[in-house]
């Protein structure tokens, strides 16, 4: 393996770059987790991160909305991440503002213990939106956007905790959409869902990419193959290969990628 993790990259898309990562190094205390990552993530595409546990894919994802700021020992050792040409680790960047633009959905759905309606309206209310008609409009728009409206429109005032796991995850996606992000980060969003709920979330991802840039971490390689336009393979903190999903799964350039996706790893 090479010392740096400049990946094998082919077939650059024509779409504009929204996230630009250059020479990015990241560590937890003395333990370096990411090595010299270089990558361009394109607008309104789905980019999947795959790799074995501990390879750094979730850590990398959480760098895009500075979620790692919450960990004391987390440290950027070098390089930069620019979103829409702004270095998100600049001192004058407002992290709250950044997270409005970069929404996140987690492995385990985490609805607030509130009504379905209030879950969606929450973000807008803390932004100061009080007008009922404006909130109604956004709630409906987001629930429709998350393919959930028809299932819940008659019980908007019921607790979100009474929904099925798959519905709760789509509610979390709807909640993330309410603040109009440009980018949606998804950290194994289907790992706790059954195949039908997984299929619904995957369909939703396919619909959402018309409007949003999506970056998804998944352990499920078939899911990466189904939902993403580009796939990045990480191994021990290095980006080994990043290319069109078709190329990664049909004809990977790096033998390590081939070994991983074909189950011959280790």
């Amino acid at each position: 393996m090479s010392e740096t993790s400049t990946p094998t990259t082919r077939n650059e898309s024509e779409k504009p770059t929204i996230i630009e990562i250059r020479n990015f190094d990241f560590a937890y205390g003395d333990s370096q987790a990411l090595f010299d990552i270089n990558m361009d993530i394109k607008e309104k595409e789905v980019t999947a991160f795959i790799g074995p546990s501990g390879c750094g894919k979730s850590t990398f994802l959480r760098c895009f909305n500075r979620m790692n700021d919450l960990i004391d020992i987390a440290k950027i050792k070098g390089g930069e991440i620019k979103i829409s040409d702004v270095n998100i680790y600049d001192k004058d960047v407002d992290v709250i503002e950044l997270r409005k633009h970069v929404g996140m959905v987690f492995q385990k759905s985490n609805p607030f213990p509130k009504s379905i309606y209030d879950n969606i309206a929450y973000g807008l209310r803390i932004q100061g939106v009080k007008k009922k008609s404006a909130l109604d409009e956004v709630v409906e728009e987001c629930l429709r956007g998350a393919a959930l409206w028809d299932e819940v429109k008659d019980r908007l005032n019921e607790s979100a905790l009474g929904m099925s796991g798959g519905q709760q995850q789509r509610l979390c996606i709807a909640r993330a959409l309410a603040v109009k992000p440009k980018i949606l980060l998804m950290d194994e969003p289907c790992s706790a869902l059954d195949p039908i709920a997984t299929a619904k979330v995957e369909e939703l991802i396919h619909q959402l990419k018309k409007e949003y840039t999506i970056v998804i971490v998944t352990h499920n390689m078939q899911q990466a193959a189904r939902v993403s336009d580009k796939t990045a393979f990480f191994y021990i903190g290095k980006l080994i290969e990043f290319s069109k999903t078709d190329d990664i799964f049909m004809n990977p350039k790096d033998p390590q990628t081939e070994a991983y996706i074909s189950g011959r790893f280790g």
């Binding site: 369909e203 396919h206 049909m250």
Partner: protein, 212 residues
């Protein structure tokens, strides 16, 4: 629930129907060129061969891509395997049409017209009817028609053998040019091969519908 990528299967199915139609059209044009001594029709048949080859490659690529990225199962995976096998059969049927057209062109260049058509018209009617039915049974998922195609292949085999005997006799009598006799035997054999490919298609449809 239909997934967004299921449309790719409809596209694959459409490509398969298109290659089947083009292979049949090429065969018909080539045989008509032979029966009516029409050089123009043989040229049209030859031109279609490239389109058929390109479609076969497109079907293979789409099939491999679907298997790799979509993890198909059950009837979806059967459709993919049928698409790969059927497109190969249809490409070969297209090659036979190409061969008929070229041999007809040789005869026309040498003799001016085709003088001895033996049972080519009769056997081509059976072979192209088999091809048409094979395509229809795929379109309409008609198991009964698919099974009936198997039996009709024997009639084409019989006519091919008959042609061989008639042409050999004509050669012995000196009523046919030896080169034309050989070309015509090969044309007859090509039609017999087209019928074989139609039979293979029918077998593939049976597998698609029953999994057996």
């Amino acid at each position: 629930m239909n997934r967004y990528f299921h449309n790719e299967l409809y596209d694959l199915r459409s490509k398969l129907i298109l290659i089947a139609e083009k292979a049949t059209q090429a065969g018909r044009l080539a045989v008509e060129g032979f029966l009516t001594s029409d050089l123009e029709k043989t040229q049209q048949a030859i031109k279609l061969d490239d389109e058929i080859d390109e479609l076969e490659i497109a079907i293979d690529r789409a099939s491999v891509r679907y298997i790799t990225l979509r993890s198909p199962v059950a009837s979806d995976v059967r459709l993919i395997f049928v698409a790969i096998k059927a497109s190969h059969d249809l490409e070969r049927a297209g090659d036979e049409a190409h061969s008929i057209a070229k041999r007809t062109r040789n005869i026309l260049t040498r003799d001016g017209t085709v003088k001895n058509t033996v049972a080519i018209e009769e056997m081509s009617k059976v072979a192209f009817a088999m091809m048409k039915d094979a395509i229809n049974c795929f379109l309409e998922e008609d198991l009964e028609v698919a099974q009936s195609i198997m039996i009709r292949d024997k009639e084409v085999d019989r006519l091919n053998k008959e042609n061989f005997k008639k042409l050999s006799a004509a050669l012995r009598e000196g009523s046919i040019d030896p080169a034309t006799e050989i070309e015509t035997i090969f044309i007859s054999k090509s039609i017999e091969r087209i019928a074989d490919h139609a039979k293979n298609l029918a077998e593939e449809v049976i597998y698609l519908l029953t999994g057996e």
